[in-house]
Assembly symmetry: C2
Homo-oligomer: 330 residues x 2
DNA sequence: CTTTAAGCGTCATATTTTGACGCATTACCT
DNA sequence: AGGTAATGCGTCAAAATATGACGCTTAAAG
């Protein structure tokens, strides 16, 4: 009765990356769970557990134990098929959008998902490998590569509030060394930004993660500027500036565009009205943002902005310029 | 020595949704693991385990055991902080893009992630709740709501290759009942499509998941049309048609646009050349797709397509039409 | 080469696990 | 409603296992 409980606790103390020593387990058991055992006992437990689970010890003297690298996450309750399918889906979705190295930590989970799906899959010949797909409406970019060691280290620094030193390739292609205090991370359109202060300056700046080289953790704690707020910083520096809400009115001419808009509206109060000339008038209250413009422009000549006047003027002006580009004669 | 192993196996047999009975566990232990135990033993094990883990029994006579609803996934090896952070990030990312109900199955995992982060978080006052953010460059839409029961049921049907009956609200707003054979699922820009055949027809069609009502599983197996291939179907019906690769050449005039393109190029062979007039010429081999057009149009008057000629003509024509819309006088 | 700390083998004893059995309780069927 | 079959549960003794004590061996560090 004691041993079972102890075994569970020990099992959960064994990490996947770092190795843990007998004494560390022993003292954690003592302090956290009030379970005082001899070191000999813990040794026996570990040997015992390693026969049931994929644990391994580096055979060295103060021996370190950890889960074998390739062992998949052992989750309980066992992942059910629906969850497994959801995992596959989420992984596919995220994998398309974020740089590779960032997501390696999720691999063990995706692996169990795949195993589980394989288990239930092929009783009949009618089943085929994957039944979910993500179709991206965006142009696929080549997301910059972030080496696993870098992302791992930056995550750790971020979590533990520690600084690190790194070489950084600036925009002008010059490489410089900095003492970096990571404050937060932001993902924008495939790029990974690190919000940080450098050396002992107090104003946060943005680093592109894939431009960081040779990082190494320090023991010093981060330098957080007085009153720093990640969300505010991101809002100011990264989300393209967003204005107040406006009442958008626009004219669409293709029925197929309208169908999609009906299914997933751009605002809660979106209204669509079919006009006599076969066009569709849409009205909605949306933020006056960069995203809005990008989205509207995407429709090209299939949309006409009616109001607000300022936005219409903007589009009218752009239309003229664009026409000027392709038809300079006029 | 036996008991830990058995407990482990039992624990993994206990599901989160459905409840499992003593006898089912017993027979599965016997057949799958060659472990023949008395029913009494399993009962004892379950009582024991329920003191260590959030398990619960419906107090009925052939008692059913399952994990408590709100219990987070119990993972071993314990989720490490880096993984936890990655989970939070992925969840935030996916949560923005996919309809709510679809992702409920992931909640227990996100919950462990959050717990783990909370555990390591607050030794100092310098830590703040979340350190990662996802900034979407797209216009935020209101993704249609898919009730949890529906998505859950459709997933199950899909996985097990079973049909279901459902009422479906067609595009013309009429509601009809169908016998649905689900073949696959596709996620496009916030909308969830179910690829399926209806009744006993053989041609697959697309259903919008949020338009499905009152679905209920059947025991009959799906009707898979001869030679059906999900990827091909999606390519034909959902990915906007993609042409051959073309050699795109375009002119950008804003340096800030170019910076982003340098960081995450649109193709492996992308080249950027600064011209004397301060503009930038970009060349790249990309698929001649709908997505490409959408992307190019997004830049509005900040980009000029040079070649291939066909694409340039298309843009020239669109520019003229657009100008015509806003400046009909000319 | 020494010192120290950790790993490991063994043994006797305390503790726990397990199968057996029988009674109590619940669900189900007619 | 009453009988029946199946399941849950308490108890006990035997078998199996876990544990602390002790001392020898071995690896790492200075």
């Amino acid at each position: 009765m004691d041993s079972l409980y102890r075994h569970w606790l020990i099992l959960r103390m064994i990490p996947r990356r770092r190795a843990v020593g007998v004494n560390e387990i022993r003292s954690r058991l003592a302090t956290e769970f009030n379970l005082d055992k001899q070191a000999r006992m813990i040794q026996r437990d570990l040997v015992f557990l390693s026969r049931l689970f994929p644990l391994e010890s580096d055979g060295r003297k103060p021996s370190g134990w950890k889960w074998k690298e390739e062992s998949s996450a052992y989750d309980i309750p066992n992942m059910d098929p629906v969850t497994a399918l959801t995992f596959k889906l989420a992984a596919e979705y995220v994998g398309k959008m974020l740089p590779r190295g960032i997501l390696t930590a999720l691999r063990p989970y995706v692996r169990i998902a795949e195993e589980r799906l394989r288990q239930i899959a092929p009783p009949n010949l009618l089943s085929w490998p994957d039944k979910v797909r993500v179709v991206s409406p965006n142009l696929t970019r080549v997301p910059p590569h972030v080496p696993e060691e870098i992302s791992e280290m930056v995550y750790t620094a971020l979590l533990e509030g520690r600084r690190f030193t790194a070489r950084y390739i600036r925009m002008d292609e010059e490489e410089k060394s900095y003492d970096v205090s990571p404050l937060g991370m932001a993902f924008v359109d495939g790029l990974t930004y690190l919000v940080a202060t450098l050396n002992d300056y107090d104003d946060p700046i943005l680093l592109l993660l894939h431009r960081v080289r040779e990082a190494s953790l320090l023991e010093t704690t981060v330098n957080v500027p007085e009153g720093f707020d990640l969300d505010r910083y991101i809002a100011e520096e990264l989300s393209f500036p967003v204005g107040w809400d406006i009442k958008l009115k626009a004219l669409f001419c293709e029925r197929s565009d309208i169908l999609r808009l009906r299914e997933s509206p751009i605002a809660e109060d979106q209204r669509i009205r079919e006009l006599k000339n076969g066009k569709f008038e849409i009205t909605a209250t949306v933020a006056d943002s960069f995203q809005l413009r990008w989205w509207l422009r995407g429709y090209g000549e299939r949309v006409e902005v009616l109001s607000p006047k300022k936005l219409r003027d903007e589009f009218a002006m752009a239309a003229r310029k664009l026409s000027e580009i392709y038809h300079p004669s006029q």
